[in-house]
Amino acid sequence: MQSETIKLLEVIAVGTILLVLVAAFMVSFVIAHRKKRNEFIREKKKMETEFEKQILQSRIEMQEYTYSALSKELHDNIGQLLSTSRMLLGLTERNMENPPDTLLTANATIGQAISELRSLSKSLDKEWLEQFSFTDNLQTEISRINAGENVLVELIPDGELPLASGEQIILFRIVQEAIQNAIKHGHPKNMRIELKEDENNYSILISDDGIGFSSNEKGTGMGMTNMKHRTNLLGGSITWNSIPGEGTTVCIYLPIKNKAA
């Protein structure tokens, strides 16, 4: 009887050790498998981000190509047509003893159109923009918009943007889109673009006194999504703060680590 109990106790001892080992194996398996899976998830996320970046990059390149083509078309074709028209109007003016006021006004208007077309064409041409800094390009863009006298845009610069040339163009397009969106949807009288640099961020605040929008109206338009993606591509973030009837502020934050070498 006692020997049977001892044998049973031995079985219990061995069985317990075996079961504890199985439990230990199970726990180690969970830890190891989870570690591998986490690495896989991280890698997948990294690849997805990289893929999205590449898609965005090629979309931006495509857009820049279209802008350049449009710019050339405006400059070489429509610009030439307008110049020819102006030259003909000038000739007509000179051939008449007392040219009518309407003719003079038409000549001046075409002159203004040529000048605006040139500046629009330049703002679309990447190669042209790359010759200047972000602040210079923005100033030119603001002058072009202010010339329309529909809205008054004020620029408050703060030093030079610490970004490489290509990245400056991407940022310029984001700001350009923000301005165009504000004018198109917010109908503001005044706009203010403030460039700020602190220890960690370079921020661009684009505020207007337009009609604003509520968070329900925000929607998920392509414009906003594109701006978000482009800002992410620069490693930054973008937010929209708007109060209906009081205006909108678009805040773009870029980490200083993006400083061009």
Partner: protein
């Protein structure tokens, strides 16, 4: 004094020191549970040493409460609704099984091995379900910082370790041979040390960052 008292004591001190930084909420519930464990174990220890009295009825009540607490922890940590429900509804079911076993089948002076075995097997199954949930999770999860992982690990070691002993408990527990007592002491002490050490890790593994570190 047995080592587990020190481990439980350290767990309670750590829990009290970092109380505000303990997360998630259920980690805080471990503290009153551990405190109750400490009180009961101390009392059982004292009773056994000084009065040589039977402590079985104490264990019968305490282990029933203990199992209910563990089932409750699983009911809030299992993600699938049906498993959560299963763990939750097993609490009243288990109480009924334990009540029947203690008062009508085995008696108050015997350890409730029937309900204990059932609960042990169910707990091991819940541990398995919880681990499977961790393995299947599609989001990045650091299991080492998941308190429930450590609790489930402790429970898995404890109840698988005790499985064979409790299967043969009715046969060997009353055998008057020194090897039985030795084996009981080895299994019981090592598994208790493991269980409460894992509970200690569960308490401190996922502390909220303190304000000064933010």
């Amino acid at each position: 004094m047995p080592v587990i008292f020190y481990i439980i004591f350290v767990s309670l001190i750590a829990g009290a020191l970092f109380y505000k930084r303990l997360q998630p909420q259920y980690v805080r519930w471990l503290l009153p549970f551990l405190f109750l464990t400490l009180l009961i174990e101390l009392n059982i220890n004292r009773q056994w040493i000084y009065f040589k009295g039977s402590t079985i009825w104490f264990y019968n009540i305490f282990t029933t409460i203990e199992f209910c607490f563990y089932f409750f922890l699983f009911s809030i940590n299992l993600r699938k609704r049906r498993f959560r429900k299963l763990a939750f509804w097993f609490i009243p079911l288990y109480l009924a099984i334990a009540f029947l076993t203690i008062f009508f089948i085995q008696g108050t002076n015997h350890f409730h091995t029937i309900s204990y075995r059932i609960a042990s097997v169910v707990l091991v199954v819940f541990c398995y379900l919880f681990f499977k949930q961790l393995l299947d999770s599609g989001t990045e999860t650091n299991v080492l910082r998941n308190p429930m992982f450590w609790i489930a690990t402790g429970l898995l070691f404890f109840y698988t370790g005790f499985f064979f002993y409790f299967c043969a408990y009715d046969y060997v527990a009353y055998a008057k041979i020194p090897l039985n007592l030795q084996l009981w002491k080895i299994i019981s002490r090592s598994l208790n040390i493991l269980l409460y050490s894992f509970f200690l890790i569960a308490i401190v593994c996922n502390l909220k960052p303190s304000n000064s570190l933010k």
